[in-house]
């Protein structure tokens, strides 16, 4: 549903159609401001909802999708990860942190020569699997890795 909303908004463009949606109470003005942002997927409280929001179905485990991250993070506030897809025609890579309150962390669309590879730093509330989903030619490929989050410092 959220995926279709995004498409709808893109298709509707500016002006009358949007105003009609707002008037009909389908959309709040704030949502229109962030129209491009996949609210449903990002606000989902479980990984399944996030995947659904992204329109992921039938994702296959793939060695062509890789995630580089330390097995153990010294601090959960900043966990560096590098994700990459070697699947030809990869257009999009998404990152889901399964145990975070809102698991979808980011979704990147690549075009015009951008390599399907990105480095980003994530917050992790606790030890969790990080799931990476690549989209290529309408199909989904996935891999995951567990990162342990440790307690650090004097703790006071």
């Amino acid at each position: 549903m959220d995926q279709s909303r995004r498409v709808l908004l893109k298709g509707a463009g500016a002006g009358g159609a949007l105003a009609a949606f707002i008037a009909a109470g389908v959309l709040k003005p704030t949502q229109v401001l962030a129209a491009e942002w996949n609210k449903g997927a990002f606000e989902s409280k479980d990984p399944e909802g996030a995947m659904k929001g992204l329109g992921v179905s039938g994702a296959a485990d793939s060695k062509e999708v890789t995630i580089k991250a330390p097995d153990i993070a010294e601090n959960g506030a900043v966990v560096p990860v590098e994700v990459e897809s070697k699947v030809p025609n990869t257009q999009q890579i998404s990152i889901v942190i399964e145990k975070n309150p809102t698991p979808l962390a980011a979704s990147f669309d690549f075009s015009n020569g951008a390599q399907p590879s990105v480095a980003v730093r994530l917050k992790m509330g606790q030890t969790s699997n990080i799931k990476v989903i690549a989209k290529a030619d309408g199909k989904f490929y996935t891999t995951s890795k567990e990162v342990k989050v440790t307690i650090g410092g004097c703790g006071g």
């Binding site: 580089k68 991250a69 330390p70 097995d71 153990i72 993070a73 010294e74 601090n75 506030a77 900043v78 966990v79 560096p80 590098e82 480095a119 730093r121 440790t150 307690i151 650090g152 410092g153 004097c154 703790g155 006071g156």
Partner: protein, 277 residues
């Protein structure tokens, strides 16, 4: 993977009576080494991309902007190498400044310049010297700018003036001074090699190598706080964890400690600003 290997090793090892013990110690050692290795990997991955650069950029702007009651920039500030010389200045601090007749660390010196050149009152900045998201600290940003201009420069705080020598000697004694409800001194955590709190290495700050690693990579961006932190902050928070009362910002006590650390690190290149847990 590792478990399988260990299980296989256990199967083939003889005599059986010893196996359990041997396996136990191997497992412990492996687990420990693997943990340390992964923490090092974590730190490596963070090293490229230090948000301290954002603070540095803001600091440079502040340094060059005309501000304060006297509407002046800090470009004439003398950090010890002459008015306006920033490059390499931090690597030779703390040091004695004749105009105030005392030893100052970078942050105390910045306050002096903000008072004399810009006409600010130091208290405006020392009331809340450590920044947070909704209360950004100009001092932290300025510090980020100045220390970055010493990256790679050999640390060499002068130890010539009697007050510099005295600050070093007093700082050393303060470092070993045990007190408070936990009986801690700085030395409790920072006077032995190869120790850590949780997974955080504790540099032995009484040795050159330790001071090079500890003192020489601060100030730093702290990922756990999402802020750039200075030496004044580092000393302040160590004393908090030491269960001491709070040391005054830019006080002689903190300057003395920093003088002791800087002298111990002298001769090594400054490698900050760092990025830390």
């Amino acid at each position: 993977m590792k478990f399988k290997l260990q299980a296989a090793a256990a199967l083939f090892a003889l005599p059986l009576a010893l196996t359990a013990l041997a396996q136990q110690s191997i497992t412990d050692k492996d687990a420990k080494d693997a943990t340390i290795q992964e923490i090092e990997r974590y730190r490596e991955m963070l090293a490229d991309g230090n948000p301290a650069e954002l603070y540095e950029a803001r600091g440079e702007e502040l340094w060059k902007t005309k501000r304060g009651p006297k509407n002046a920039s800090l470009e004439k500030c003398d950090l010890g190498l002459g008015a306006g010389v920033v490059k390499g200045a931090y690597a030779q601090m703390p040091r004695y400044f004749a105009d105030v007749d005392k030893v100052q660390d970078l942050e105390s010196r910045l306050l002096t310049c903000m008072e004399t050149l810009q006409g600010y009152k130091a208290e405006e900045f020392t009331k809340q010297p450590f920044g947070s998201e909704d209360n950004k600290s100009d001092l932290e940003a300025l510090t980020a700018y100045v220390v970055t201009q010493s990256k790679g420069v050999t640390m060499n705080a002068p130890m010539k003036h009697p007050k510099e020598k005295e600050a070093y000697e007093i700082g050393k004694r303060i470092f070993f001074y045990r007190a408070g409800p936990y009986d801690f001194a700085c030395a409790t955590c920072h006077a032995e090699n190869g120790r850590r709190i949780r997974l955080q290495d504790l540099p032995n700050l009484t040795t050159h190598n330790g001071a090079k690693l500890g003192y020489g990579t601060w100030p730093a961006y702290r990922v756990s706080q999402g802020e750039f932190r200075t030496m004044q902050w580092r000393m302040n928070d160590c004393y908090r964890q030491q269960r001491f009362p709070e040391p005054g910002f830019g006080s002689d006590t903190v300057t003395a400690l920093l003088t002791y650390l800087a002298a111990t690190a002298a001769g090594a290149p400054y490698q900050g600003p760092g990025i830390k847990r």
